[in-house]
Structure formats: structure tokens, C-alpha cells
């Protein structure tokens, strides 16, 4: 697979922190989070592999192109619409969580809606770009931010204050039966590959995902999952981490870079995640927009020979996110994120039956 596929997978792995994944996992820490993580790790890798294999069969074609070819029109409409809404919500959760984070830690005096609007302005610009430019943006921002993610991870693991006994204590709950919520939350890390449903349009050359790609994804994914869960426990304490609202933000505030320009890691961390969550929303919403464009297109809705349908969708994006940001509380956000992640995992049953169906019809 080419490197852009890896980037798509990467973004989800890194951005899980702003999708309430650590919080959900940690809330289940004495109710089977560990076994769930192991299960979802295997599950996620299998999903990632199957998805890549499927799209390898159809170089240069996204899911909308395939459903149009091999499915009845009404069915294709319904399924693509549901997928579009799912992807929209995935982006929305990241957007709202990060707006909350900014409000809490970086710009406490700025109204929440202003923070969201600024975000939305940049996002609007981003998602209207063509898919290729979106991938280039993803590559550029990731290359700029991954070294910092790497440094912070290393710093966390080598910190003197990281108490391995807390991590040990959390390991002592391994015998607890897995929980569905925890499985679906941790599976989120490895689901980035599914953005291929649109981005496969760009991968026109015939290619094949091989074991080296999978090994790489497995290695990085495993590290990401382990870090996401164990570092907050090791820094903040097995019992004490339970009542922290943003485990990773508080963890980053517990790290100290003595000899850096900024001593408090939290500010580097927040700026870093500003970039990464932007990417995450950008990818998800770009996919949403492209999916919507493929099913709903008003030919006559034009101004000066320019079709305004995408702008119509965008105005929906704006309205929905502004409503969400003003009505949700932190508690509800985490609650709904967890429901959404549960739904997401279930919806992959549908997704895979769809893949199977298309594969049968296409006879490849």
C-alpha cells in the first residue's frame, strides 16, 4: 500500500485522545478494559486488512462508485447516507471535544461558539479542497507533528514519576470479562483505514496490502493503544485516574520538560492536538461531503455556473455543529461518544456484508 493509506490509519490512532477513547477505557479499567483491548486490537487489525484488501480489488474506485454500479439506486442512497452521517458524527465528536478542551485550557475567556466557528472556518476551507490536496495536507501536518508526539511519548515512558506499580495494578484485572463498550472504544484506533471509501478514488494504481504494511500498522497501533491506556494510569494512579475528565490532558500537565522552551508539556500537547484533531475532522468531513455529493446533487442549484450543492451541505455542517457545541455538556459528550463508538462497531457488520455483496456481484 502507498504511504497515504498509512497516514489515514495513523490519524485515527493519534487522534483517539480527543475522541474520549482513553476516558471510556479508563472508566472500564476494573471491568474488563484489558481483555477488551486485546480483542479489539485483533479485531481492528483484521478489519483494517479486509478493508484494504477489498479496495485493492477496485483501484481508483470509491464506495459510492461501486454501490452505484452493483446495487439498486434506492439501496445505495440509503446506505451511503447512513455512512455519511456516521462519518459526520465521528468528525463532530472530535470537533466538539476539542472546542471544549480549548475553552477549558487555552482560551478560557473566549466564547465557545467563537472557538467552534474559527475551527469551522478552517475546516470549510479544507474539506472543499479536492481529495488529493486533503491527502497532501494530512501528510504535511502529520510529518510536522509526529516528532512531537514521539517525544512526548518517550518523555512519558521515561518519566521518573511514572509509577509502574499502578500499571501493574491495572494488569491485575486481566481476568475480568471484556465489555462491549471498551471493545468498541479501543477499536476506534484501528478504523482509520476505512476512509478509503472515498480516498480509494485516488489510488489508481493496482496495489496490494502486504504483511510488511500490516506488521507496521500492528506495531504502531499496539503502541498507540498501550500508551493511550497505561500512561494516564501510571501517572495519575489507578484509582485516582477515574475521576479525571480528560485523562490525557491531565497526564500531559504532569509531565515536565525542564530544558525545553516551554516547561509545561500541556501547552505543546494542546497545540499538537489542535493540528491532529483538525486533520481528523478534515478527513472525516471530507469523506462525508464526497459521499453526500455522490448521492444528492441538484443540477440546477447554480450561481454563475457554479453548483452550490456542496455549500448547502456545509451550511448543514455548520448549523449542526454549532447546535451540538452549545447544547452538549462534557458529561453528555462522553456518554454520546461512547454510544456512537458502540454503534460504529456494530455498523461494520453492515459494512462488511456490503463489501461481500459487491465482491460477489463484481465477480473479482
Amino acid at each position: 500500500m502507498n504511504r497515504y493509506f498509512i497516514y489515514l490509519v495513523f490519524v485515527n490512532m493519534v487522534a483517539n485522545v480527543v475522541a474520549s477513547v482513553p476516558k471510556i477505557l479508563i472508566s472500564q479499567r476494573s471491568e474488563g478494559a484489558l481483555l477488551s483491548m486485546i480483542i479489539s486490537y485483533i479485531l481492528g487489525l483484521v478489519f483494517c486488512y479486509l478493508c484494504a484488501r477489498f479496495f485493492n480489488l477496485f483501484p481508483g474506485e470509491g464506495l459510492p462508485d461501486l454501490t452505484k454500479k452493483y446495487m439498486p439506486r434506492w439501496f445505495s442512497f440509503v446506505i451511503l447516507f447512513v455512512i455519511a452521517v456516521t462519518w459526520y458524527i465521528a468528525g463532530l465528536i472530535t470537533l466538539v471535544t476539542f472546542s471544549f478542551l480549548l475553552k477549558r485550557f487555552l482560551t478560557p475567556d473566549m466564547p465557545l461558539s467563537w472557538i467552534t466557528i474559527t475551527f469551522l472556518l478552517f475546516l470549510t476551507y479544507g474539506i472543499l479542497l479536492n481529495s488529493k490536496s486533503v491527502l497532501y495536507t494530512v501528510e504535511f501536518v502529520l510529518i510536522c507533528s509526529l516528532p512531537f508526539v514521539f517525544i512526548i511519548t518517550i518523555k512519558a515512558y521515561t518519566s521518573h514519576e511514572l509509577n509502574w506499580d499502578f500499571i501493574g495494578e491495572s494488569l491485575m484485572y486481566i481476568h475480568n470479562p471484556p465489555s462491549f463498550t471498551a471493545i468498541s472504544a479501543s477499536a476506534y484506533l484501528l478504523l482509520g483505514g476505512f476512509n478509503l471509501i472515498i480516498f480509494n478514488r485516488l489510488f489508481k494504481k493496482k496495489q496490494q496490502i502486504n504483511w510488511k504494511n500490516m506488521l507496521f500498522i500492528a506495531l504502531i497501533g499496539g503502541t498507540a493503544l498501550v500508551t493511550t491506556y497505561f500512561i494516564p494510569i501510571g501517572m495519575l494512579g489507578f484509582d485516582a485516574v477515574g475521576d479525571v475528565v480528560y485523562p490525557w490532558i491531565t497526564t500531559s500537565d504532569s509531565l515536565r520538560l525542564e530544558f525545553f522552551i516551554v516547561e509545561r508539556v500541556i501547552y505543546i500537547f494542546l497545540l499538537l492536538y489542535l493540528a491532529i484533531s483538525f486533520l481528523s475532522v478534515l478527513i472525516h468531513w471530507h469523506v462525508t461531503l464526497e459521499l453526500l455529493k455522490s448521492i444528492i446533487w441538484f443540477k440546477k442549484f447554480q450561481l454563475k455556473k457554479r453548483n452550490l450543492t456542496p455549500y448547502l451541505f456545509l451550511s448543514f455542517f455548520w448549523v449542526a455543529s454549532l447546535i451540538a457545541v452549545s447544547y452538549l455538556t462534557e458529561y453528555h459528550l462522553i456518554q454520546y461518544s461512547s454510544y456512537f463508538l458502540n454503534f460504529l462497531l456494530c455498523s461494520f457488520v453492515v459494512m462488511f456484508s456490503l463489501f461481500l455483496f459487491i465482491k460477489r456481484r463484481a465477480k473479482v
Binding site: 475567556d109 474559527t118 472556518l121 476551507y125 509509577n163 506499580d165 495494578e169
Partner: protein, 370 residues
């Protein structure tokens, strides 16, 4: 095509202009802020207003050379820390900024009361660093904060004592705010804080002892000597000295590297115990007699025996008091599968544990002279 181009361009302009709005809202200029360097909380004996909050503020000056050390203090008694700080805001003509508060001092009297509410305030607020240091002020926090050591430069305000870049000493326990919180909440891992004592003439601060508060127990002071050995056990402190006194020979070892490992042994046959291995490397720093290089192993042996005695005494004392700042209970929980209430088991086990301490001191040199 041109429509698209202008559209894009317009969009780009709007996006970049929005950046200007960003800074307009939440940002206060530095000359409208005053930085809090340290926060002190004392207990008043007044039931209605139990907390006395002391803030040490740095006075901003134009040039560092002329300024010297200029501080001011704000004090207020109130029923909660938050309300005291809200009221203190009206005592200064600038916005109080807690982003640089590095040291939080609790008065000694406060320790006899419930600390949960106070710890809660500091952890709940977003702008107080989780990496600020927590300490106990003796006789009270106000006294410690108002002390101005002659060597202190503007802004340093105590934190040089705790971060291990300035003063490095085995007598100083440094506890970060997040560490304090986790120790307060976790079972089997008790909080320990350094004690800052100010002299009567407000010219000197001494920090060489520490205070330990196990859950539901009265605070308990560790002497400088005990603090030193606690640091050796818990933090592998390296700037340590061991004084050995044996048959008129008195010598001091400066330790370079120290490493402590421990293991809980609870198999059914023997009495449950803790096997603790300490290995220490160092050189001789001072002696009252000429040292014989060929006798280094003997000197090492004497030192090992001495350290073993001291450490066992400290551990026994902690056990007697049922305190666990090193985290033995946590280790117990971390090594037994949680199929039952392992901490309850530990609580019954701890008072009966035997300590098997092995200290291995190796003296590498007699120093520059023999």
C-alpha cells in the same frame, strides 16, 4: 474558473482575518497581569473562616538589574480557598495569574484537618500547574512565604529547592501536586511532603525533614536522617552521604549511584516479608584517620552494616505507624491477581511483615588522598 479562484482567495482572506479576532478576546497583556509565585494556605482557628490564603506575588519591574527582589503579599481569610482568591482579586490592580505558581505551601496546622477539600481546589482549577511542588510550612505557611532568603533571586521563590536542577540534596523530598493527589487517593501509597521551616528572623528557610500522613492517621514527622534514607529507598537519590562510625574511625561516604529493589515474599512456608536490596556506590569524602586503600572492602562492609541497621529501623518505624510512603501495598496489589480484595489482605499482612534488608555498599576510591 476565475469565479472559483476569487472564491478561494476570499475564503483564504476570511480565514486568515479570523486569526485577528482570536487574540482579541481571551488575551490580557502582560502589564495587566501579576504573577503569583507561590500559594500558601493556613488554618485559622475560626470556625467560620477556616482558611487563610497567602499569595506571594512578583512585582513586575522594567529592568532586572535594578529591581532586585521585589515581592508583595496578599492575605485573606475565608470559608473556602476559591472565595478567598476571588476576594484577593480586588486587592490588586491587576489580574492574578496562577500559571506560574510553582510552590504550594500548607501550614502545619492544616494537616490536622481534612486536606481533601484543599487538594481538590488545586487539582480542579485548570490554571494551576500539576507540576507545582507541594510542601508543608512550619510553623505556618505565611511565615515560610514571607521569609526572604538573602540568596534568593527575583522569581526563584523556593522552587530551586525542589526541582533537581538547582539544589540537589538527599534531605529534600519533592512532591508534585499530581503525585500528592494520587497518593491521597490511592490505597497502599501514602503522601509524604517536605517541611519548610523558616527561621525567626525571616532570613532563612530550611528544608530537610518531611512529614508523612497515612490515611486516617495523625501526621508524623520524619527527621532529616530518616528523610535521607526514605529518599534512598523511594527515589534512588544519588547525592547522599553515609556517615560510618566504628572503633574511633569516623568516615563519610559520598554516594554516586544508588539503586533500591524490593520484592514481597509471601509464600506459605516462611513468615511473609519484604526482601529489600540496596546497592550503593561511592567514594570517601571525609575521614578522621588515614585511609588504607587495600582496606576498602572492609570499609564498605562497615558502611553496609551501618546502612542496613538504619534502613531496617526506618522501615520498622513506618510499619509500626502503619504508614506506607514507599508503596509496598501498591506493589502487593500490582503483583496479585485481583480476584479478591487484595488491599484488605495487605492491611492484615503489613503489621506482621519481616524486613530482610541487604545493603551492598562499594567504595570505589578514597578520594584524592589516601
Amino acid at each position: 474558473m476565475s469565479v472559483i479562484c476569487t472564491g478561494r482567495r476570499l475564503m483564504a482572506i476570511i480565514v486568515s482575518l479570523s486569526l485577528i479576532l482570536q487574540s482579541g478576546c481571551g488575551f490580557k497583556d502582560i502589564d495587566k497581569r501579576v504573577f503569583v509565585l507561590s500559594i500558601g494556605v493556613d488554618h485559622t482557628d475560626n470556625e467560620e473562616r477556616p482558611y487563610k490564603v497567602i499569595l506571594k506575588l512578583a512585582i513586575p519591574t522594567g529592568s532586572l538589574r535594578e529591581s532586585g527582589t521585589e515581592f508583595t503579599y496578599l492575605t485573606k481569610e475565608s470559608e473556602s480557598i476559591a472565595s478567598a482568591i476571588r476576594l484577593l482579586k480586588t486587592h490588586a490592580d491587576k489580574e492574578l495569574d496562577f500559571g506560574h505558581a510553582k510552590v504550594i505551601v500548607f501550614g502545619e496546622d492544616l494537616l490536622h484537618h481534612d486536606l481533601t477539600e484543599i487538594a481538590d481546589f488545586f487539582v480542579r482549577r485548570r490554571d494551576i500547574q500539576r507540576v507545582s511542588w507541594v510542601a508543608v510550612g512550619s510553623p505556618n505557611a505565611e511565615g515560610v512565604l514571607k521569609t526572604q532568603p538573602s540568596s534568593e533571586k527575583a522569581g526563584s521563590a523556593l522552587f530551586n529547592l525542589f526541582d533537581q536542577n538547582g539544589v540537589e540534596s538527599a534531605y529534600i523530598v519533592s512532591t508534585y501536586l499530581f503525585d500528592f493527589r494520587r497518593r491521597m487517593i490511592e490505597t497502599g501509597f501514602d503522601p509524604i511532603l517536605p517541611v519548610l521551616s523558616s527561621s525567626n528572623d525571616k532570613k532563612k528557610i530550611v528544608v530537610n525533614s518531611s512529614i508523612l500522613f497515612a490515611k486516617n492517621k495523625h501526621p508524623f514527622k520524619l527527621s532529616p536522617r530518616e528523610t535521607k534514607f526514605y529518599n534512598l529507598l523511594a527515589n534512588n537519590t544519588q547525592k547522599l552521604d553515609l556517615i560510618v562510625n566504628r572503633d574511633d574511625l569516623i568516615y563519610t561516604i559520598a554516594v554516586d549511584t544508588a539503586k533500591t529493589k524490593y520484592k514481597l515474599v509471601t509464600n506459605t512456608k516462611n513468615k511473609p516479608g519484604i526482601k529489600l536490596d540496596v546497592s550503593v556506590k561511592g567514594i570517601i569524602e571525609e575521614s578522621n584517620k588515614q585511609m588504607d586503600p587495600s582496606q576498602l572492602s572492609t570499609y564498605s562492609k562497615y558502611a553496609s552494616e551501618m546502612a542496613k541497621k538504619e534502613i531496617t529501623e526506618l522501615l520498622k518505624k513506618l510499619q509500626e505507624y502503619d504508614a506506607d510512603p514507599i508503596g509496598f501495598g501498591l506493589r502487593y496489589k500490582a503483583t496479585r491477581l485481583h480476584t479478591r480484595d487484595t488491599f484488605k489482605e495487605w492491611e492484615e499482612l503489613y503489621p506482621e511483615l519481616a524486613f530482610d534488608v541487604n545493603v551492598n555498599v562499594s567504595i570505589m576510591s578514597t578520594g584524592i588522598i589516601e
